[in-house]
Amino acid sequence: MGDTRQTIAKRAALEVKDGMVVNLGIGIPSMVPNFLGENMKVFFQAENGILGMGPTPKENAEGNLSNAAGLPVTILPGASYFDSAIAFGMIRRGCIDLSILGALQVNALGDLANWIVPGKRVPGVGGAMELAYGAKNLIAVMNHCDKDGQPKIVTQCSLPVTTYRCVQKIITEMAVFSIVDQQLYLDELMPGYTLADVKNNTEADFSFSTNFKAHD
């Protein structure tokens, strides 16, 4: 399980390019920075009011310097602090080049469900709607199936939708998909998985990308 999450985060890290401004959700997305190339200059934004977040401090963490999950962070040269209205203003305005979010379900149209499982504990939507609405590019990262083995890439979301038509890429431990014009395309298979694995565990119909590749 831990390894699966690392594998997904490592693959997602390839989507982060030099010079980007990136917002990462909690869970798998928060592992992405561990896999970035050495000399890349990337600014991570946190919706609680930082642009230019650095790694977790090794010591001397400051109580009032945390990421959106409340965990201690550092800042990089050129970072800025701002209030929540500005934080979400830059998100809605389309200033975030890439957002990587966890997901409960994604359908072939790019609809994202990630904020509530009715009848279970209700966490609330947080900043997910704004990120899904505003980010120039949205990648959903998740295990290919849920704990009961049910596909999470679905024909129709059974869970309440966070934002419609927003997901542009899905990365799981089995495969990478793109969604273009509300069509789902298989881009690549992840190491150790076959096309049959993906077909058996994906409810939504999909086509192959023109540059589909099985493995590196």
């Binding site: 609680n48 109580g63 009032n64 945390s66 201690p72 934080a87 209700v122 939507v125």
Partner: protein
């Protein structure tokens, strides 16, 4: 005491709280929520409070401590995931929770704080978070109307305040605090440091003192409260 000198004690601050009030609170996951004023709120014994803020804190941190006492009837917030008690109270029908997208909520507070009458957005269109909010058609396109919110009382945490109430904040403890200060009829600030008028650079002031009614000296608290105690959850 001159009207421009707003420094007072917790007893005076406490007298601003009342049963049934709408309370705005600053903070994001507990960071930036004034700990001394939360204790003061708890001490005050007030009940039937309508709470508005980013989240429900943690059960032992921020507004969460008050939420767990079951003296709030309503909570408007973006999430309650870090406070399972809030979820339980909601499921038991003891706490009415309205969810808002996080950035929309702070804009609603700002809208009240700057004297506007709400705004339009397409953000939550077609989702459960539309609730029964009015739809407005502008130029053939339908938007959700988001109403302004204001508070009877607002509690704010600042790094420094001068005696007039000019405020500066500390890193990510700024979050919703500036707008809570603007949108509340009675804004109470808990500051780590209180300085004379003129001691703050007028350029660095984030919230002008015009919005502030009372200032109290923070008694300090454990800076590492959030993550060092998250394992408790």
């Amino acid at each position: 005491m001159h009207l421009f000198d707003k420094v007072t004690d917790y007893a005076t601050a406490k007298s601003a709280f009342f049963d049934g009030m709408t309370l705005l609170f600053g903070g994001f996951g507990g960071v930036g929520t004034p700990p001394g004023l939360i204790d003061c709120l708890i001490d005050s014994g007030v009940k039937d409070v309508k709470l508005i803020g980013n989240d429900a804190g943690f059960p032992w941190i921020g507004i969460g401590k008050f939420v767990c006492l079951e003296r709030a009837t309503h909570l408007l917030a973006s999430h309650i995931g870090s406070n399972p008690t809030a979820g339980d109270l909601m499921n038991q029908g003891k706490l009415h929770v309205e969810f808002s997208p996080q950035g929309i909520l702070v804009e609603r507070i700002r809208s009240g704080g700057v004297g506007l009458n709400g705004f339009l957005t397409e953000l939550s269109k077609g989702t459960q978070l539309e609730y029964d909010k009015p739809k407005v058609n502008i130029g053939g396109k339908e938007y959700i109307y988001e109403a302004p919110v204001t508070g009877d009382v607002g509690i704010v945490y600042a790094k420094k305040a001068d005696t007039f109430g000019n405020l500066i904040f500390d890193k990510t403890a700024r979050n919703t605090n500036p707008y809570v200060a603007m949108a509340s009829k009675v804004t109470i600030v808990e500051a780590d440091e209180i300085v004379p008028m003129g001691a703050l650079d007028p350029e660095e002031i984030v919230v002008p003192g015009i919005y502030v009614k009372y200032i109290v000296q923070s008694k300090g608290y454990n800076w590492k409260w959030v993550w060092e105690t998250q394992d408790k959850q």
